[in-house]
Symmetry: C2
Subunit: 407 residues, 2 copies
């Protein structure tokens, strides 16, 4: 597996674009397009929120019902959620205009929106934007970056990852982009993520790979515990690598899953590290758990704890808050037995063991916590299961951004 | 039912004190005592966190095993949680010293701690503090207030409530105090709450009343979603009102429960409104829910949403975040049918109906949200169940307090 530069245009046959459509922001790109020269098999996972945005409903229908997909039209600024029949109608108009501009069936056009809930889309601006996108699309790395920039809301940087693998002598590429950075608690989050690949793989097998991997990647991220109405992960495979079809239970499928995991995990970590107002990526790795479910609950509970997140911001080794978060996670364990470490590129330190604080230096702990990527490592001493969850610190800027997001 | 001034000393035969013991803070009271002239029947509810502080374990043993209780010794500054056998030993020494100073059995002395997790108590200071408390105790309102002040940590004001009822010609009084204000998500939170009454009531019936009422009061409060290791509610009844014993299924029991509910709800709301860094009490009332459990989940999900809490701080009618929080609560409903209002002493406004934003004035909504007590009212249109949950806004000061709590 080889890590390469790029995003959604890394794989063969994919084009992208990002343009200014003037939907809500001024002087910035706010619409993106992903387009495949050939029809793609699709896999997708969507928000578990009862309140689902119109584009989520549209895309679910496409992913589950249409034979293939070929394009995704994305806008930032307005989420098209809680917008009733009018909002759903705009999805249809978006897809219809995309279909016309790109020469593909309407049912092959997916849509995604992120931004403020409850406002209607300015559909004429969207339609004009689609025409611009169709003109601008290109298969370059730069075009992929334009798209990744266009889907940002409160993100401070665009997020892309790509990787190459070899499937029986054929180069297969996977690339993706995503955006955060508030209302992020995917189960699925307004996380939007898009992964493209030129692999030849069936829809069933692609779906299986995506559903499994999302449990350990996007669903292990939380910025603020709010599961958005718009969360969407779409994976498109256009088969242009011309590899022999990837079959279940083969080394090739294992390699494909590894590549998908790399792209998903990279994007998930970028999203967490760029959480609203964040100064640090805050990772919690649980090892020695009795069950996988326990490991996931425990690690996620820690990265979701507001008190712990604020302590990370303060570079304060306030490990009691971590013990507390483990304790209310819903998993059972013996607090006297577990071990807890802090680690970062600046070192590693044992903090808690045998039911009491270890004899550590607060100064050293604080130095370790001053890194932009910090990790809590917890050994539950109960079994062999592990899980990792990613979040970020809680800062003044999180409050600032969200006390005044709409204006 | 008559609302009166006072707290834990309002009921007949209860004394209290608050003194400076120099445990962690300088120049402030940090130890409190509640003492009853006569033995009390006890009821208690404690944290559901797997990591339970030593005093929680001690008190559970007393409440469940001892025939009666007569005193509570409380300290602020150090939580005596995650302190191993040494920490539990300090509970025993605290109770023993209290027993000696007050002339009661050791098994009748309850203990409670709040503050930093993981540090050991300075037991000599605690013991000296107990002697001072025993000297200072008094049955005055002022003494109750001293106690309520002594148990504060990041609270900005002390919290007391009291009420009188008439049980067959006898005046029965209930009074209580509590403290917040971080790590508050009782299920049971470090919430500590103490209610005293001079009612004659059996332990069984008192326990039943407390367990039921806590579901609708303390367990409906959240400041930050972190369920503490120390949460404790203790209710003590010493029988000194000499009323005919309160029996189940009688109007007198209904009246007693109403009085208990008033005290508990008052304290719970004070705790929420004084959440760390809060500028407003944020209440969410759900009506028309299909089940009581749904009503509780829905209302609690809204007051726990970081994004909604930040919007409340910004006086921003960002109702999409409320819809979103309802949607991920776990309760199912039809987003097209529900109705949503904002209200406060400044008025009431319909915000959302029929699946889309109502035609409201942002200016008026913002004015309503500028009150120090704001309420979201949601009608689910599915049934007749209701629930109310209390939280607070999310502010810069919450981050400030918690990024630097220990230093």
């Amino acid at each position: 597996m080889k890590i390469i530069t790029g995003g959604v245009t890394a794989a063969e046959g994919f084009e992208a674009a990002g343009v200014e459509a003037g939907i809500k922001y001024k002087d910035r790109k706010d619409m993106a397009l992903i387009y495949s020269k050939k029809p793609c098999v699709l896999a997708g996972t969507f928000t578990s929120n009862v309140v689902k945005a119109a584009p989520v409903i549209w895309d679910k229908n496409v992913v589950e019902g249409a034979p293939f997909g070929q394009a995704v039209v994305i806008n930032a600024g307005i989420a098209n959620a809680c917008t009733g029949q009018e909002g759903y109608g705009y999805c249809e108009r978006t897809a219809a205009r995309g279909a016309k501009a790109l020469g593909v069936p309407k049912e092959a056009v997916l849509v995604a929106s992120t931004g403020v809930i409850g406002m209607q889309l300015p559909i004429e601006k969207i339609e004009a934007g689609i025409d611009k996108l169709a003109q601008a699309k290109a298969d370059t790395i730069a075009a992929g970056t334009m798209a990744a920039e266009a889907i940002m809301t409160t993100d401070t940087r665009s997020k892309q990852a790509a990787v190459e693998i070899d499937i029986k002598g054929k180069k297969v590429t996977l690339g993706g982009m995503c955006k955060g950075s508030g209302m992020i608690h995917p189960n699925m989050c307004t996380m939007l993520a898009f992964v493209t690949t030129d692999a030849v793989i069936s829809k069933e097998l692609l779906t299986k790979a995506v559903k499994e991997d999302v449990q350990d990647t996007f669903n292990m991220v939380s910025v603020d515990g709010d599961t958005s109405t718009n969360d969407t992960l779409l994976v498109m495979a256009n088969g242009m690598a011309e590899n022999p079809e990837i079959e279940e239970g083969t080394p090739e499928f294992a390699l494909f899953k590894e590549a998908l995991h790399y792209v998903n995990e990279s994007l998930a970590k970028m999203m967490a590290g760029d959480g609203e107002g964040a100064t640090a990526l805050f990772e919690t790795k649980v090892v020695g758990a009795a069950t996988k479910e326990d490991a996931r609950r425990l690690s996620k509970s820690v990265i979701c704890s507001s008190l712990t997140k604020a302590a990370i911001y303060g570079h304060d080794a306030n490990w009691g808050r971590i013990l507390c978060a483990l304790g209310y996670s819903g998993a059972s364990f013996d607090p006297e037995k577990i071990e807890l470490y802090f680690e970062s590129r600046s070192g590693r330190i044992l903090i808690y063991k045998d039911g009491v604080a270890a004899d550590y230096s607060e100064e050293e702990a604080s130095r370790i916590l001053s890194d932009p990527e910090v990790r809590v490592l917890v050994d539950m001493k109960m079994g062999t299961e592990t899980a990792t969850a990613w979040g970020c610190d809680l800062t003044y800027d999180y409050v600032k951004i969200n006390a005044d997001y709409r204006s």
